[in-house]
Structure formats: structure tokens, C-alpha cells
Point group: C2
Chain length 161, copies 2
């Protein structure tokens, strides 16, 4: 890894691995959720994640590379934390609050990575990649806002007792 | 972990561990950075991190608990990713770009955690904790904006070649 292009390609492999890991982990998380609003939000995000993997396929194609994931220690840690929380939380109150928190940590990881990637794409004049990555970034920010809204309007207030 | 208070205390242990891990890891990262603006930003953030650990001590005190860290898989993964990047990047161009990216991923993790914690503090009527955690959240957001500014104004444009 020497050039900005190398960094771009490396990090693209990293988020490709991350999105696939999230698509694999989310059904288990959804299975633990009883709160209907949170359940729907996570189901929607699972569909969105599968769509984002297809957009990433197109980003790879736009720079004439084959889609490939590379083990990403960060997402492994974030998912491990989420799994630990689901095991440790006894009862819906703490479990729902902790699940929203962990999912927002994962959303923020994606926001950071797509923010970086789309700026690198811009600096490298990869116009198509810049547009596609900006589109995914907007979806991740919207998903995070939806979780914040759910947290402050239902999950946290219901969990106060 | 049953109540929202339990979730709050657990996550407070998690960020206490994370801030201490960051304070330990940052000097090694700073040692790899030649870009003067980035070096100064990371040195400033190291000082800020040490200050935040003291604020967290006060947050623990405000809920009548002793400060304690608990192994946080997420920050372990994020730091491992950063260390891997520093090993794999050959030369300043990719290295500086990747270091900014990894540091922003860490900032975003903190933004997610303090965003969650301060909303839980509000829901639990922990007024003092809410104020202190909101103060740290503002610092993390400012640190992240500073890194974005450095990336788009110097690091990425210098790395294009």
C-alpha cells in the first residue's frame, strides 16, 4: 500500500467484508428484538445492507476490479461486542437499549468509512465511485438517525423503570 | 444487566476502557506521522483524551461508583485495524491517509457511545452525568471535524500523486 489508490482499494475490501459480516449478523440480532419499531427498522436495514453490497460491486467495477472482502478487525470487534451484549442482557429493557447502542456503533463505523472513501474517490477523480459511495453514506446516516429517534422516543423511555 | 441503569454502567465501563486504550495507543500512531498538521492534531487529541478520562472519573463519582474499565471488543478491533494499517502502508502517502481514516473510525465509535450514554443519562435523570457526557461528545465531534478538514485540505490532495 503506497498510493491513495492503494488505500482506497484496501478500504473498499474492508467495507465489503464489513457489509457482508453485518448481513450475516443482523438476522440473529433481529431474532432477539421484541420491540416492533426496532424490529422493523433492523429488518429494513438488513434489506438496505444487501442493496449496498450490490452498489459496492458496482464501485469495484467502476475502478475495474473484482469485488473482494478482506478481514476487517474493526467490524469483527464491533459485532463481537453486540453478541456479548445480547448474551449478558437479561430481559428486554437492557437488551433493547444495548442493541440500539451497538447497532449505532456499527452505523457510525460505516459512516466513518464511507465518509473517508467518498473523499478519497473525489481526490482520485473517481466520479462514479464518489457518487455511489455518497449514496451509501446518506443511507447509513439516515439509518443512524432512525435509531436515535427510536431510542429517544420509545426504547429509552420504556426502559427507565 | 437488566435495567437502563445497568446498561448505562456497563457502557461507562466500556468507554473508560476504550479511552485508556486510546491514550496508550496514540503515542505509537503519532510516532509514525510526519505531516505536521496531523501530528499536532493527534498530540492535541492525546491531551484531550487524558482530560476525558478525568471527566469520566467524575461521571462515575456522580452515580456513586468507582471508575473501572471493562474489556471492550470494539475498541480492541478498531485499534488492531489501525496497527495493521501502519504495518502495511509503505511510505507516507498511503500511511497518512490510512491513519486519518482509522482515527476517524475511532472518533466515530466514541461519538456513537457518548451519544448513547448521554441520552441514557437524560432518561435516567442523571443531570450531572448528562452534562459531562455531552461535553465529551462535543469534543469528540470537534476532533472528528478537525480530521476531516485536515484530510480534505492537505492529506488527500497531497496523496493524489
Amino acid at each position: 500500500m503506497k498510493t491513495l489508490h492503494d488505500a482506497f482499494e484496501h478500504t473498499l475490501h474492508d467495507v465489503y467484508y464489513a457489509e457482508n459480516a453485518i448481513a450475516k449478523a443482523l438476522p440473529k440480532v433481529i431474532g432477539e428484538v421484541e420491540n416492533p419499531g426496532l424490529r422493523t427498522a433492523l429488518q429494513d436495514h438488513l434489506k438496505e445492507t444487501k442493496g449496498q453490497i450490490k452498489v459496492l460491486d458496482a464501485v469495484f467495477k467502476s475502478i475495474k476490479k473484482s469485488p473482494k472482502g478482506e478481514k476487517c478487525d474493526a467490524i469483527e470487534g464491533l459485532i463481537k461486542e453486540c453478541e456479548g451484549v445480547m448474551k449478558d442482557a437479561k430481559g428486554p429493557v437492557a437488551k433493547h437499549a444495548m442493541i440500539v447502542g451497538c447497532c449505532q456503533a456499527i452505523e457510525h463505523y460505516e459512516i466513518a468509512r464511507y465518509g473517508t472513501l467518498r473523499e478519497w474517490a473525489k481526490a482520485l477523480d473517481y466520479t462514479q465511485a464518489h457518487e455511489m459511495l455518497s449514496g451509501i453514506l446518506d443511507q447509513e446516516k439516515a439509518a443512524n438517525h432512525k435509531l436515535t429517534h427510536l431510542a429517544v422516543t420509545t426504547v429509552n423511555s420504556g426502559a427507565k423503570a
